[in-house]
Symmetry: C2
């Protein structure tokens, strides 16, 4: 499983990847535009050595969002046979800017209040979701290898198309963050007039605005890169708040109760961490040995809310066909097969062998 890797940008996420890989026996090389930070990373044992590693089998680009596409291209050139992935919060600009079979976009949904290298931890990704967004150019072998590497760090891999990813994170991350900051800003503005406002801010308000305490440095870039999806969600939110306002002014108790009940049911059933399977089974999907088939199947599984616990591609010794082996929860085998058959695949399934 282990091998040689390069990490570009040794901050919170890049540093955690370095620690996690080294713990699993990888040799990790570090690259960073900040030489002092790179020196600290070496001292801390986050990386083994400094500089690009031409023998790197996987390079993780963990630079700020605006520099990712350039860094990915540089990484592809630096390790001519290696794979490259990134950890940026917005995927369309990166994936559409890099047209290479050896590149797989990614986004680990992990982090910590403590940003910077000091917050790095080898177990940062355990039981978190790590999104992969293979592009049209990504080849199956690259996707499978990056997927296995990322999963070995303890993360559940969720495969999505880049535009779907960007729309969903606008909804569950970017707009909530902007909304928290906006609420905090309103309270802060009012507090100049009435000191008491901040004294009255109890637990619920503190929870809601916690993310606004984070360093804002990365956000202007994220907003710029994902402006289209963010604007759409902001439109939805503004419209929904307008409806809430009408319900409040009209004392529409039923409407409000219904809205709050729906939100409560959804919040209570929000999955915690990555799910653990009760029992696993294997689904086998014969495929034409065609470019991007693996990524398409993994993306379809995500759409069907079927977690893939392991994924492998076996090529037949002769001919142009292969078989994708998907390890999924036994109870979800039929759902996955139904979805695959609807797309023209002929899956079979059986117990884990």
């Amino acid at each position: 499983m282990s091998g040689r890797a390069t990490v570009v940008g040794v901050g919170l996420i890049g540093g955690s990847i370095g620690l996690a890989l080294r713990e699993r026996g990888w040799h990790v090389s570090g690259v960073d535009s900040d030489e002092a930070r790179l020196a600290t990373a070496l001292e801390m044992g986050v990386v083994d050595s400094a500089g690009w590693d031409p023998a790197a089998e996987v390079t993780f680009v963990a630079t700020p969002v605006a520099h990712i596409a350039d860094a990915v291209r540089e990484a592809l050139a630096a390790s001519p046979s290696g794979l490259v992935t990134d950890v940026g919060s917005v995927k369309v600009p990166v994936v559409s800017g890099v047209d290479d079979p050896r590149f797989v976009g990614g986004h680990p949904m992990a982090g910590s209040e403590q940003d910077g290298l000091e917050g790095a931890a080898a177990d940062m990704f355990v039981d978190t979701n790590w999104v992969l967004t293979p592009g049209d150019a990504t080849d199956d072998a690259s996707f499978a290898r990056v997927r296995t590497t990322v999963a070995s760090l303890g993360a559940e891999v969720v495969t999505l198309s880049p535009d779907r990813h960007d729309a969903l994170v606008a909804l569950v991350s970017h707009v909530p963050h902007l909304t928290a900051a906006t609420l905090m800003g309103l309270a802060a503005a009012r507090s100049e007039e009435h000191y008491a406002v901040l004294r009255l801010a109890a637990g619920g308000f503190r929870d809601m605005t916690r993310v606004a305490a984070g360093h804002p440095g990365i956000w202007p870039d994220i907003c710029a890169e994902n402006s289209h999806a963010i604007a759409e969600v902001l439109d939805d939110l503004i419209a929904a708040l307008g409806v809430v306002r009408r319900e409040v002014v009209d004392s529409d108790r039923d409407g409000l109760l219904d809205r709050l009940e729906t939100a409560r049911a959804a919040r209570v059933s929000l999955p915690t961490g990555a799910p653990r399977p009760s029992e696993l089974a294997e689904v086998r999907v014969p495929i034409p040995d065609r470019h991007g088939e693996l990524a398409a199947i993994a993306t379809l599984a995500t759409e069907l809310d079927v977690n893939i616990y392991d994924l492998e591609i076996a090529h037949s010794a002769e001919g142009d066909r292969g078989v994708v082996l998907l390890i999924v929860e036994t109870g979800l085998v039929e759902r996955l097969k139904g979805g695959l058959m609807a797309k023209g695949y002929r899956p079979t399934s059986g117990p884990l062998t």
Copy 2:
């Protein structure tokens, strides 16, 4: 300090008041429209006895918001010389509906995820803020006694006018709650189409929507009672989100960074729990023995962000004058005196005696 009290409505807050008072030697009688719940409260030792206590010196009304004004009137009639306070989340409708010198509106800013009597705890109010909203009719002795009783339960008392209270809780509690539910609702609606949305909801989203997991039962009433203030804050929020949207679409990095920096600074300096004084001093304020003077001074102190750690009123043996003794942080004595002098008072100060 202790005496006899009645608690009307033995749920989370009423039950906690019962436990806290009994721990301090009070005899507590309980009233509740739900007889089974009242029986449980007796079994749990939340109250000593069931039914109205004509000898109650203080009655706490902790019924749902819509029934408070009626329950307060009933409590005033049930204990002809006792004081009455309530714990409702909205104050103008209650205070304007009860015109009695023996009534002081109140709102402890405490609670727990676990609602109902099972969540009741004697230490519920320790280091929390308890707002009192004396009305025009409230007399000084009633206010001072209720204030002392509430403070004895471990809470810091914040005195505000009823309309100021309602405006501020709309901002730091009601609208944040509705916004959390709205964000959760948008994500839930989208998840019907794309299961993955809820899997991507990481820590920040979970924090932001936590309050939406609470039982919605009380909220339609709160929204109805405080509709005016809530609508105003919703207007501000919708307008502010519109500005954010424009900054996102225009890639206005400076505007976004400035907004997020301001929010961060405010969030980081949000006071945690009730402040503890370093050193205390006494401010003495001669007052004409006039109705409501004490409440006016306490409200002014809140506006000046000066915490009152203790408050007493001493009447002169002869004549129609008295002296209010305020215990405040030494470093804030001059600020309080300045504010009082601006209002025509002639305060003096000295070390705590």
